[in-house]
């Protein structure tokens, strides 16, 4: 009886500790569902040097502090986020279609701000996406 109580208490303590600690571990986030319209959306902005340069400047000003200089998810604010910003150099982001990235940058979610009102125009978002494609390893 005594050993059974000890085993149950130990199990409870371990479970409670695990649940408590999980609050401090950033999650990958729930799956981010992109509407079909955006999945199929093509970029109207050619990915040329000018567009990538514009995108790089926008990245430095608006994205770098969380996503990091090279998009590795190691920005100075990344540690404070509830959701990991992710590694943009991997297939996790690079395999997503342009329209999906457009949707996510425009609308935002949780820690990720919405930029559709912040940025001057939709062209800015497409320029950002053209720059994000250059982060691929």
């Amino acid at each position: 009886m005594k050993s059974r109580i000890i085993r149950i208490s130990l199990l409870f303590a371990v479970t409670a500790t695990a649940i408590s600690l999980s609050a401090f571990i950033p999650s990958q986030g729930k799956p981010w569902v992109v509407p079909e319209k955006f999945v199929k959306m093509a970029s109207p902005v050619k990915s040329d040097a000018a567009s990538v340069k514009e995108g790089k400047e926008l990245w430095a000003k608006n994205c770098q502090s969380c996503h990091g200089k090279a998009g590795l998810g190691d920005g100075s604010k990344a540690a404070q986020l509830k959701t990991e910003p992710g590694d943009f150099s991997t297939d996790l982001v690079q395999k997503q279609p342009n329209g999906a990235l457009f949707f996510k940058i425009s609308e935002g979610r949780s820690d990720m701000p919405s930029f559709k009102k912040k940025l001057e125009s939709e062209e800015d978002i497409w320029n950002l996406i053209n720059y994000i494609r250059t982060l691929k390893k």
Binding site: A60, K61, S65, K117, K118, E120
Partner: protein, 303 residues
């Protein structure tokens, strides 16, 4: 008064020449390019001539996107001349302004603020008349800025209510030279209902200064990185007063920009923050090293 009208005339001519030199190119391009208008895409305005509504002591041509709400915190410490005894002015009496503005429709911004010096409240309006285009179109941006300020100290400081009020208007003309460098010039006029005076030998009140004061400002921004720039501003008084003529103001500083904030820290001469007070009453002389440390913080929200 004759001197004033000559100065005003000459300054108006200068501003008009600067404006027309850009306008001529606009007209010339439009008249010769009429046939091409239908096939050319919409002319895009240049971005980020300046990163903030402020460069140090003055407004810039920037009017943000519609629905942008801005909060300004501006602080000016005492002069550095007392050295360590007041830690180069940081512990000396200071001046502060907190301001707000909102872009109610594209190109039109309204604002208000309050300043410690003379417990002044201000209401502002800013309108972007022309925006410089990336290619073709206007080679410059032109924006109007104006304010009305009320001094809310005790009534014993004034004879009539209208003595409390002053006005400021300026026309800002700026050009983004390249991705790193932008410049702006801005002729302005300040007007004070109430001005200093003295009682002369005949017992009559004589003014020591003119009610209207004309000045011209020039500023520049040089980007070191997408987030950091060197900024500088110069204000030159043009009106000659009987006495107490204001000194020019030079300010140089560093600007740091993030998505929603702009921080500027600088050394300058004028400490009044409100432009009419800076232009009319700056008595800090840069030739005598009478500089102050100051900072501006702006925070943006988009609704």
């Amino acid at each position: 008064m004759k001197k004033l009208s000559i100065i005003f005339r000459n300054t108006s001519i200068l501003a008009l020449v600067l404006f027309c030199s850009g306008f001529q190119q606009l007209v010339a391009q439009d008249s010769s390019a009429v046939k091409e208008v239908k096939t050319k895409p919409v002319l895009k305005p240049v971005k980020s001539t300046f990163e903030s509504n402020w460069v140090l002591d003055n407004q810039t041509v920037m009017v943000a996107k519609k629905g942008t709400f801005e909060m300004d915190i501006q602080h000016r410490f005492g002069t550095v001349n007392n050295g360590y005894s007041d830690f180069f002015g940081l512990y000396a009496p200071s001046n502060i302004r907190i301001g707000f503005s909102y872009v109610i429709k594209n190109q039109l911004q309204l604002g208000a603020g309050f300043t410690k010096e003379r417990i002044q409240w201000d209401a502002t309006v800013k309108y972007a008349i022309i925006k410089q285009k990336v290619s073709g179109g206007s080679p410059v941006s032109v924006t109007f800025f104006g304010n009305t300020v009320i001094d809310t100290r005790k009534a014993s400081n004034f004879v009539t209510f209208t003595d409390r009020i002053s006005y400021f208007s300026e026309l800002m003309i700026a050009r983004k030279i390249n991705t790193k460098f932008s410049v702006q010039v801005a002729p302005s006029i300040s007007y004070f209902n109430n001005i200093p005076g003295y009682v002369d030998i005949n017992g009559e009140i004589q003014p020591t200064m003119e009610n209207a004061h004309i000045a011209i400002a020039a500023m520049g921004k040089y980007s070191l990185t997408p987030n950091m720039a060197l900024v500088a501003n110069y204000d030159q008084p043009l009106t000659q007063h009987v006495t107490n003529n204001p000194h020019p103001n030079i300010s140089v500083g560093l600007e740091m920009t993030t998505s929603n904030h702009t921080f500027q820290v600088f050394a300058g001469n004028a400490n009044s923050i409100l432009p009419q007070n800076n232009n009319m009453y700056n008595q800090n002389d840069f030739t005598k090293g009478q500089f102050i440390i100051g900072f501006n913080i702006t925070r943006l929200w988009n609704f």
